[in-house]
Each structure stands twice: as structure tokens, then as C-alpha cells.
Point group: C2
Chain length 216, copies 2
């Protein structure tokens, strides 16, 4: 193969990229409509209107399609997280995290894909690994934001930080799933309820420590 | 058909019940091992060591097996919830709710079944309906416990109660899934972290209302 100059993508590279995007879109449609377990490579090729051979040229297997979906998801989230990391106000950073991560997850396609991929990951360690990195990245960003506000903004004890961050992510994931599966756009009220609860949890430990065995 | 006297179950009734239990156990094993989408009636009959005709005699279809699983789950939870309802101390009632509901969900079988059934429910409204009643029951019990402690125990504003209860359930569900899928017994530390966060959220609104848009 002859390597092209690196500047502008060639027509061929552009065509390849467009074809891959088409195939990913077809795969996502199939996964959402019929479920991951019921979707084969043949269904995806048919949905995209390409030959099965052409699909295999771009993606040797279904796991490669899922890996590409994981990569796109991680890239989108990384963009959101850059905003959180760039914010100097710890309160605002947490609010941005909660609002943007919730919005990222609370739509029908994301919600259905989450359920489907979780089910697939139970029996497919490659898929499980693909998404575990994203969760670690989210935890790290939120933990750092909280740590940055440790003295001025948040009363929470440092030793409970990891556990509490995990619970906050569980809550956002669960609520986003519940809102997303309705197929309606998340309302401002949805986000507000979540924000209030997260803010409250992050100020935990400021008051009656005796009541919070985890913090004592 | 001749109706038998109602007192003691007859040998035949006992045999039927035992057979149904065996079939449900086989179905759960198949669903957990291979996933719901990949399990057919033939697989379940084979796992139970009965003929497919015998399986169909007891359960006309896969949805009937899932309905029986939903029924068993709802009965087990109702027993847990009776304890919550019977408790006169609102703080204790909430603690019992959180601890027992978490323990109910945070085991491998429950966690995998939750994922599998959620995936099935996306495309099967009968299955979706079967489990929606359980969620409503859980919400009602927790909301009532909070309402009972409104004046003495919890600072939370009444108008945010339903939203907050929803978020607490999302958090317990999500965390139980995460703990349950490891296959390890939930630790005391797992439950303590959850209890602290829930207690904190329920005392929300006592302090700086200006910081909580949902409560103002």
C-alpha cells in the first residue's frame, strides 16, 4: 500500500469514512430495533444496503462494530468532560458534569444501546472491557472536580469520595435510562431534580456526622 | 374437571407445584447463562429434563414463564415491604427499605435477570407491564415512609418527594446491579455508603434552600 500525504483526506479516505459511518448507523438502527442478540452481520448489511462482503471488508465482526460505537461514545463524552475539567468553579464543574452527562445518556438511542450492550457484556468480555474505560474516565473527572472543591465547596469526607461518586454515577445512569426509554426529550425539571440531589449529597458530612456511619 | 376440597394440597397438586418450580428454575438458569433472547422453550425443557410437550402443558409460552418469575419477585418484595410498612419509626423504616431492597437485588441471578428482562421489555409490552407494577409498589412504600416522617424526621419538601423517591430507587437499582454482577455477596460497606447517601438526601431542604432550585 502506498501511504498518502497526511494533510487533507483523499477522496478515497473520505469515501471510506462515509461508508464506515453508514455501516455504524445501520448497526445502531438494528441493535435498537431488534436487540443486539437478534442482530447478525447479514441484517446490518441489508439495513445499510451493501453486500455482506463489503460490510466484512470494513468490520471483520460484530464486536468490531460495537468497538467503534464505544469509541464514538467515549469521544463524545471526552468532549463533554473537557468542559468540566476546564471549569475553575467546583460547584459549576459538578453541575456541568451532571447536566451534560445526563443529557448525553437520556435519549432513546443511548438508553436502548445501554441496555443492549450491558446484556451483551454479561457474556462477552471484549465488549465489557470496551465500556469499562469510559466509566473509569467519568469517575475520575467527577472525583477530581469534587476534590478541587474539597475545602471551599463540598463538606464530604475524602475517604467516602470514591463510593459517593460511584453512587452518583449509578443514579445518573439509572435516571437517564428511565427518562431516555420514554423517547421524550429530558425536561428541565428532570435535570433540576438530579442536580439538587447531587448537590445535597456533595455537601454531606458538613452537618450531623453521627447520623452517617460511612463518614464517621 | 372436579374441584378438590380446599384444605391440604393433594398429592397431584403438590406434584404440579414441584414441577412448575423445577421448570421456573430451569428457565432462570437458561436466561442467566445464555440470555433471554437466545433461550427458546426447547432449551428450557432440555435444561429441566422434561419433554417440550410437558413444558407447554405448564407454561403455554416463554412470556408465561417470565410472568411467573415476575410474580415470585413481587411476592418476595411484598414480604420485605411489609416490614417497612409495619415499622413505626420513619428513620428505621427507610433504613429497612434501602437495606432489604438492595440485598434483594444485589446478587448475580437478580442482576443478570434485571438486565435480560429490561432488554426483553423494550420490545415486549407484556413483559414491560409485568414489572412496572413492582416499581410502583416500591415507590409507594418509600413515599409513604417518608411522608410519615415528614414533620419529625425528614426535612424534604413534599412537592419533591416523588422525584426524589424515583432517584433513590434509580440509585439502589444501579448500585445493586453493579455489585450484583460481580457475583460477590454485597458487603456491609456497600450498604452503609448507600444508607448514608439516602439519609442525606432525605434530610435535604432543611438547610440552604436557595442552593436547591427544585426545592425553592
Amino acid at each position: 500500500m502506498i501511504k498518502k500525504a497526511k494533510q487533507e483526506p483523499t477522496n478515497r479516505e473520505q469515501a471510506t469514512r462515509a461508508r464506515r459511518e453508514l455501516l455504524i448507523e445501520a448497526a445502531v438502527s438494528c441493535f435498537v430495533e431488534d436487540g443486539l442478540a437478534r442482530t447478525g452481520m447479514r441484517d446490518i448489511a441489508k439495513k445499510a444496503g451493501v453486500s455482506i462482503g463489503n460490510l466484512y471488508n470494513h468490520f471483520p465482526g460484530r464486536d468490531d462494530l460495537i468497538a467503534e460505537i464505544a469509541k464514538i461514545d467515549a469521544e463524545e463524552l471526552a468532549a463533554v468532560m473537557a468542559e468540566v475539567t476546564d471549569c475553575n468553579d467546583p460547584h459549576k464543574a459538578v453541575d456541568i458534569f451532571v447536566t451534560r452527562y445526563f443529557e448525553h445518556c437520556a435519549n432513546l438511542t443511548s438508553a436502548v444501546l445501554t441496555v443492549e450492550i450491558t446484556s451483551e457484556a454479561l457474556r462477552n468480555s471484549t465488549v465489557a472491557r470496551l465500556f469499562s474505560g469510559t466509566r473509569s474516565m467519568l469517575s475520575d473527572v467527577l472525583e477530581t472536580a469534587i476534590q478541587n472543591g474539597e475545602h471551599e465547596a463540598f463538606g464530604m469526607a475524602a475517604e467516602s469520595r470514591t463510593a459517593v461518586v460511584g453512587l452518583i454515577l449509578d443514579m445518573i445512569d439509572g435516571y437517564a435510562l428511565r427518562v431516555g426509554l420514554t423517547g421524550k426529550k429530558p425536561s428541565k425539571k428532570d435535570t433540576q431534580a438530579l442536580l439538587s440531589v447531587v448537590r445535597c449529597v456533595l455537601s454531606m458530612g458538613g452537618g450531623d456526622k453521627g447520623d452517617h456511619p460511612m463518614l464517621s
